[in-house]
């Protein structure tokens, strides 16, 4: 009797899960499908994923539109990769210090960091622009990497993660003769892989999708990032060219999906080795 109830519960759970999965998957698939459709069909409000008029035209158009396309792609990739690697270390170190170490001024530093992310970005655009200009960083890749080399949100996330981090692991390592720096780099960081991978994917996405900064800071077309370069295609007057926008969005999203799939396997690897995996 009880077994049956569980089965009903379980099947209900699966039905809900599948429904939720479809609801989330659909827009993503629709975006990809729309990228193969002509504008007329998208505008018609057709919600179906298939059409008889599908073609590679939109992609041919985008790739043919600018010879700089591969260059933009490489720019975005390099900036995002370098930026993510730096971020992982900077944020994890800061988050670790703010949760596991004791030192004078700890709370003040934390409070100040928090206060900084509460000011909305719209009002910071001009001051940031002036700072970048004063530092001579306009039109340089460094303008996109260095100011974003630390991410306060991720620092707080890492801090919250390390609060729960099992202390016995670290203590065992210190008995084995590892110093404080060795403990952090050789024990804590590898064991925090799931959260660091999560952080890496989000940071990478942040760099990859960043639009405002390259828009304001980069002046030379060869130095544009992919998101910015794709924007130069949109026309001012004649409505949105949804078919091209969707193709551009699909092109933009593919690298992130690949990165996600690479890191995905780490998401499920925990610190504890005693649980079922």
């Amino acid at each position: 009797m009880k077994k049956k109830e569980i089965n009903i519960g379980k099947s209900l759970l699966y039905i809900v899960l599948i429904f939720v999965a479809l609801a989330t998957l659909y827009p993503f698939l629709w975006m990809i499908s729309a990228s193969f459709k002509p504008l007329k069909e998208i505008v018609n409000g057709n919600m179906s994923l298939y059409s008889d008029n599908m073609s590679f035209d939109n992609y041919i158009y985008i790739f043919g539109r600018s010879s700089l396309f591969p260059k933009w792609f490489i720019n975005s990739f390099m900036i995002a990769t370098v930026g993510t690697v730096i971020n992982i270390f900077v944020n994890t170190m800061a988050g670790y210090s703010l949760s596991r170490l004791d030192f004078p001024g700890k709370n003040k530093i934390f409070f100040l960091l928090m206060a900084l992310i509460m000011i909305p970005g719209q009002v910071l655009m001009i001051p940031n622009y002036l700072i970048i200009q004063q530092l001579g960083m306009l039109d340089k890749y460094s303008a996109l990497i260095i100011p974003a080399a630390a991410n306060i949100g991720s620092i707080i996330m890492m801090r919250q993660f390390f609060v729960n981090f099992p202390r016995d692991v670290e203590e065992a390592a210190s008995i084995d003769g590892l110093g404080r720096y060795g403990r952090f780099f050789r024990i804590c960081m590898p064991l925090a892989k799931p959260i660091i991978s999560t952080q890496a994917v989000f940071i990478f996405m942040g760099f990859w999708n960043e639009f405002t900064k390259p828009m304001l800071y980069m002046k030379t077309e060869t130095k544009y990032t992919l998101t910015l370069g794709l924007q130069t295609f949109s026309s001012k007057d004649a409505g949105t060219m949804w078919h091209q926008v969707m193709a551009a969005a699909t092109i933009t999203v593919i690298p992130i999906v690949i990165i996600y799939l690479i890191f995905n396997k780490y998401f499920l690897v925990g610190v504890r080795m005693d649980g079922e995996k």
Binding site: M47, S97, F103, L113, I119, V123, P127, P147, V163
Partner: protein, 310 residues
Amino acid sequence: MTDSRNKVAITKYKYTKREKGEHKQAYLFLTPSILITSIFIGLSVLFVIYLSFHKVNLFAKTYTPIGLKNYFRAFTDSTTRVAFKNTLTFSLVVVPIQTFLALVIAAVLNSKIKGKMFFRTTLFLPTLTSSSALTLIFMFMFSVTGPINGILIKMGIIDTGINYLNNPNFSLKVIMGMNIWSTIPYYMTLYLATLQDLPASMYEAAEIDGANSIKKFFYITVPYLKPMTTYVLLTSIIGTLQMFDQAYIFSNGSGGPANSTLTVSLMIYKYAFGTQNAMGFAATLAIMLAVLIMILSLISQKVNKSESLY
């Protein structure tokens, strides 16, 4: 206040070598992030605070001190009040739903179900879909001739299609739905990553005591995730109170219809980049919003009863 008293005590106390080593490590680890954030965010924030007390023309580089005039105006301006009300409503609805659903889905996906990987990947996809594509899809779904109206008409709930996007009673709700739907995966992923470290033995012990899934969720999963919930609440509060993109796209920048989608960030943008040189007023609104964020996040920490953030 307690901090300054502690300081007096601290200066008298002699640190051990071990403690000094720990201080050194902490400062060393924090140096890069503090340097970067103070130069690239801190300075700008100070500048914004300065601007809020001035009548500013950044083009001519003139700053006329006007004291608290901007603040006084902001407090008495009826449109500002509407914007703060909308923003606050948006946040108060979205944050709890977002957090709770993310928690539940994470817990479900962490349990012994089949196809974990499939569900995890699918549920993460909205985060990857471009925001313009997402907004467009939502606008299609909620348009007069869209599928939502289609379903409601078929079910006999309404007779003719509702123009959700142009109707002040619905427009903000549509944006709420879109925001919840598109950000849950982000928080769910975080929870899932954290749950990987939850010792399975805790669940096993609870099972022996006869706890069912719901009990396990409330007595083990939720408390274990509290520190991460602190973070999720904080980001969610900041994200919702600073909501800009979706309101901008939906209302074409006007905040309409009838100011129903006017958010504080949208207003800040309009003042900062409008044709009236109103950077000073924009700065004032930004600081007021920051204070509101601070208050809300303090309250949320009280509700979450987690270790104190501040």
